[in-house]
């Protein structure tokens, strides 16, 4: 029975005899009563003892604890951030829902508590600005969250970010566009995020066709589902960031294992049994992980303060939004320390700490390939069919398949690496002495090196795959924009209209804008076949414009004001023939009653062939063309002007001036073609962030490698001194350290490249993009791997030189 578990009986006997001891003789002190601790109490005692050892481990012990804590802290911070995403999105969407109501299905009648409300969204230098124009019908209008009362006509309430932008020196054109007096600032509850650019402006002239009448703010709506590439990117980013963190978490709690085992041998010598020593070892790891847990919480709380400056996929939130659910936080708080204990116990399954040292009773096992291949194989089997499908669709099952497939593929890399290192180094023979020392060392025990490197491998593989996906997305967007630029006008502007004269005024204003080279515009409206209660697909479209404007759309035989033309465009099987009665106010939805406004297509109208018939950008699908006098615009339900503007791109402010001209005509007009490609900067930002994250992970893993290398050197202090004594050059051992790091890292990099390229290709196939490799990123990542090797070697050399001193030979 060990001293730590000595029976209480002997102590009791001794204390009972104490009264009979002769006073002249000094008895040895009676042993302290000891009670065998079992169960949870025993566990707690041993873990606490281990924690005390870790805390009292001196400078080196603290360095190891600190590194474990840093690794765990990083993991915890990422986990907390990951589990905050649902809360974050709920808060974000919640504020959006609470403040919005762009139209009610059954608009209320004008009343004391109703308002006219219109969107005046605009863009300034690529920044989206949300604008709302408000005109109260009475004295008690609804007020959106974030402001106490509605701004009066000519005044506006602005978000802090917009106020800052308006006050900036380069914002003169924006100030001209939003020509309202700033009456106040919108509070946080009325904003989606701190960086949001938004305003509410008061109007005295806003009228019905341009605005919705509402009696409350807050609208039930489902947020738009993300686009497939974005979902892929989000899922992959989570997987690629969390996987190395998990691997690192597992690795970091094993730092200092060998030193710890030696210390535990001393405990065995004084009577601790094997399970006790294992629990004490777990207690040491637990100490580091608890510190890491606290550090991670601090890192998370500190890091989220920077949330306001980060905008990803248009999502920008307040620091307070980034909060994990209490259940998730509790799970992290419990599971992370538990993982550290389990991992440490697991790491010790093959060794026994004996009183005179550590016995590794498991002979070097031959690593089996079959189950290691099985993991990435199953992952690939899940992903390949998805990449072969026509187009990736965002369904829960697909997301699950994608996540599971990616995790298995990446985890498979970590499982394959030890086998690969064993298989490769096992075949290495000969070579110079440093090479031989390194390869032999790896042949003997490659476990600790591959454990650390597997973190690098999984981080790199994930990063390469994501970088490929981003490159594909970026190229796809760039191609789409290039295509769009070829086919579309430079800018398209739409807006409600009451009369053709109003459209003409807009055309004139745009043509007068400096830098504009060409403007085309018509008033467009829809009509249906008369007599159909629910016309479904039987809508027609009509363009109203001057002969000059209509000639830009179609080849007109001749044209005078009052003429109507049929185009003969019949792509949907519609057959609006001359003389046919049509409805200018068709019923678009079953529960939206509309009173018919019949109009007869004049008989004997000529046919005008559309110049670009068809659907999509740059094409037109009008059924009828009409000159302004031919039809009364007021008879249509929602006629709108469709203006297309081409301009000289040399001056970046031209587009801003065009927007100003449009806003002066009617602030509710909006662009329907995107001039700026926001994806470029967004994707570049994500790529830069990802690259930075990968570098940080790699350097952190590099720090772990340094620790394990220095520990290994420390263990071999006497041998190193002996090697120095027999004349071994420092360079020889320095090179052996470099090779010892370089071989597993190089193999890990190779595996990461293979897996990353394969996963990236599958992901690109899922978004129907051509497989393209961003070699700059691959070279950059490989370069970082090389830097890690040099970093580890360079930091290992000073201790190596120190341990080669002859003091190591002294036995006394």
């Amino acid at each position: 029975m060990s001293l730590l578990r000595s029976p209480a009986g002997r102590a009791g006997r001794r204390s009972g005899d104490r009264g009979h001891t002769p006073p002249a003789r000094r008895d040895p002190p009676a042993p302290l009563p000891a009670t065998a601790r079992t169960g949870p109490v025993g566990w707690a005692h041993d873990l606490l003892l281990g924690m005390r050892f870790a805390a009292g481990g001196g400078r080196e012990g603290w360095i190891r604890t600190a590194l474990t804590a840093v690794g765990v802290a990083l993991g915890v911070a990422v986990l907390l951030l990951g589990t905050s995403v649902p809360t974050l999105m709920d808060s974000w969407h919640g504020r959006e829902k609470a403040r919005e109501n762009l139209g009610q299905l059954h608009p209320p009648a004008p009343a004391d508590d109703t308002i006219l409300y219109a969107s005046t969204n605009t863009v300034f230098h690529g920044e989206q600005i949300r604008g709302r124009l408000i005109r109260p019908d009475g004295a008690h209008p609804p007020v959106p969250p974030g402001i106490d009362r509605l701004p009066g006509p000519g005044r506006m309430m602005v978000s802090p970010a917009l106020k800052e932008l308006l006050d900036a020196p380069g914002s003169a054109l924006l100030r001209a566009r939003l020509d309202y007096e700033v009456a106040g600032v919108i509070r946080a509850e009325g904003l989606r995020g701190p960086a949001e650019l938004t305003y509410y402006a008061g109007s005295a002239t806003l009228n019905s066709p341009r605005a919705y009448r509402i009696d409350h703010f807050g609208k039930e709506y489902e947020p738009r589902p993300m686009q497939a590439p974005t979902v892929l990117l989000v899922v992959m980013t989570c997987v690629a960031l969390l996987m190395p963190v998990m691997v690192f978490l597992g690795t970091s709690v094993r730092y200092g294992n060998e030193r710890r085992e030696r210390r535990l041998a001393a405990l065995r010598l004084v009577g601790a049994d094997v399970p006790t020593t294992r629990r004490i070892a777990s207690g040491e790891a637990l100490f580091g992980s608890l510190l890491g847990l606290a550090g991670g919480a601090g890192l998370f709380l500190g890091g989220r303060q920077f949330a306001s400056v980060v905008t990803l996929w248009d999502v920008n939130v307040f620091p307070a939004d980034i909060a994990p659910s209490p259940l998730a936080a509790a799970l992290i708080a419990v599971l992370v320390p538990a993982v550290s204990v389990v991992v440490t116990l697991f790491a010790q399954r093959g060794i026994t700490v004996e009183p005179l040292g550590v016995v590794r009773h498991r002979p070097p096992v031959r690593r089996r390939l079959w189950w290691r291949v099985l993991l990435p194989l199953v992952g690939a089997l899940l992903l390949v069919p998805m990449s072969a499908e026509q187009a990736w669709t965002d369904t829960p099952l697909n997301t699950l398949r994608l996540t599971a497939g990616s995790v298995l593929l990446l985890f498979g890399v970590t499982a394959l690496l030890p086998w690969l290192v064993d298989a490769v180094v096992g075949r290495l023979r000969g070579g110079p002495v440093p090479w031989q020392l390194a390869t032999r060392r790896l042949q003997l025990n490659s476990g600790s090196a591959t454990r650390a490197v597997s973190g690098i491998t999984v981080a790199l593989a994930g990063a390469i795959a994501i970088q490929m996906l981003l490159t594909g997305m970026k190229t796809g967007y760039a191609d789409a924009y290039a295509q769009s630029a070829r086919e579309r006008p430079d800018a398209g502007i739409m807006g409600s209209v009451d009369s053709w004269q109003q459209a003409e005024r807009a055309l004139t204003a745009l043509r007068a804008t400096p830098g504009v080279t060409d403007v085309r515009g018509t008033v467009d409206a829809s009509f249906g076949e008369l007599g159909h209660a629910r016309p479904d697909d039987r809508f027609g479209s009509l363009a109203i414009g001057s002969c000059a404007e209509l000639r830009k759309l179609a080849a007109l035989p001749s044209c005078r004001d009052g003429d109507v033309f049929r185009t003969g465009f019949d792509a949907k099987g519609k057959n609006f023939t001359p003389g046919m009665a049509i409805d200018l106010n068709p019923q678009f939805m079953a529960d939206l009653p509309a009173s018919p406004r019949p109009w007869k297509i004049p008989p004997d109208i000529p046919t005008a062939r559309l110049l670009s018939p068809g659907f999509g950008p740059g094409n037109h699908s009008y059924d009828l063309l009409a000159t302004p006098s031919a039809i009364d615009l007021a008879r249509f339900d929602h006629p709108f002007m469709d203006l297309e503007v081409n301009y000289d791109h040399a001056d970046p402010d031209t587009v801003e001036r065009i927007r100003n001209s449009a806003a002066r005509v009617d602030p509710t007009m909006y662009e329907h073609s995107e001039v700026d490609n926001p994806h470029d900067a967004q994707i570049s930002g994500v790529r830069d962030g990802l690259f930075f994250g990968s570098v940080v992970v790699l350097l952190l893993i590099g720090a772990g490698l340094v620790i394990s290398t220095v520990e290994q050197l420390h263990e071999r202090r006497r041998l190193l001194s002996a090697l120095d004594a027999i004349g071994t050059r420092r360079a020889t051992l320095g090179w052996s350290v470099l090779w010892q790091t370089a071989i597993p890292v190089a193999l890990g990099l190779g595996l990461a490249l293979g897996c990353g390229l394969a996963l990236g290709s599958l992901l690109l196939a899922m978004i129907d993009s051509a497989v393209m490799v961003d070699w700059a990123v691959v070279v950059g990542m490989t370069g970082v791997g090389g830097v890690v090797i040099l970093f580890v070697t360079a930091l290992s050399l000073p201790p190596l030189w120190r341990m080669m001193r002859p003091e190591g030979l002294r036995t006394e």
């Binding site: 032999r440 004594a725 002859p806 030979l809």
Partner: protein, 228 residues
């Protein structure tokens, strides 16, 4: 230059570790083919003397001459080169590289001196045969007994055809039978190659294999009465 006939000579060596003197004016001389036992109690400075003689450490003062070389003025690289080419070492615990096989361990000094692998290992096997450990050449040090390991260490010390072998408590970790066997093989091989052996020990039975005994006490080396 060493005195005529002597191979390695030290004069008035002083070496302190912090405030503690390890050598306090120690003298030492050894001739080719001679086996000199350096004896003394623990902490007397025997190992420090051996390290100074081998050029592993530099004394604070005094000189160590080996042939034409003054080890006390040579830089670290040249002393390392000399240790590779002219000296051999046997340590108490063998200090074999655990990941190399026994034959690779024996070949290590030769390879460090620039020999090709095959030639170095062939030469090593010859020594291993002579020391009766050829059959364990492919094993790693962790897989052989203490006595075998120490014989591998002796083979490593001899493989480079050194002119001086420094043996620091070479039998300290062995039982008496294995210790005797190692000592017999070491001294016999040294005599055959005319190599001098500086043998640090505190065991009289080990010192008995020497031609001459020197006692180090309080950092001063004295010739034992009655030895040659």
């Amino acid at each position: 230059m060493t005195p005529p006939g002597s191979l390695l000579e030290a004069r008035t060596l002083h070496k302190s570790y912090g405030p503690t003197p390890a050598l306090d004016g120690a003298d030492f001389t050894i001739h080719p083919g001679e086996v000199v036992a350096v004896m003394g109690p623990s902490g007397s400075g025997k190992s420090t003397l051996l390290h100074c003689l081998a050029g592993i450490i530099r004394p604070d003062s005094g000189t160590v001459r080996y042939g034409e070389h003054n080890l006390t003025t040579m830089n670290d690289a040249r002393r390392s080169a000399l240790r590779r080419s002219d000296f051999g070492f046997v340590f108490q615990f063998g200090q074999l590289v655990p990941e190399l096989t026994c034959v690779e361990n024996v070949a290590l000094p030769l390879r460090l001196a620039g020999a090709k692998r095959a030639a170095a290992e062939a030469r090593s096997l010859e020594w291993m045969e002579r020391l009766e450990v050829a059959e364990i050449g492919a094993k790693r040090p962790g897989e052989v007994s203490g006595g075998q390991g120490q014989r591998i260490a002796v083979a490593r010390a001899l493989a480079g055809a050194p002119r001086v072998i420094f043996a620091d408590e070479p039998t300290g970790a062995l039982d008496s039978l294995n210790g005797e066997r190692v000592m017999a093989l070491l001294t016999e091989a040294a005599r055959d190659t005319n190599a001098a052996v500086v043998l640090v020990t505190h065991e009289a039975r080990v010192a008995a294999y020497s031609d001459r005994e020197i006692v180090v006490r309080d950092g001063v080396a004295r010739e034992m009465a009655g030895t040659v």
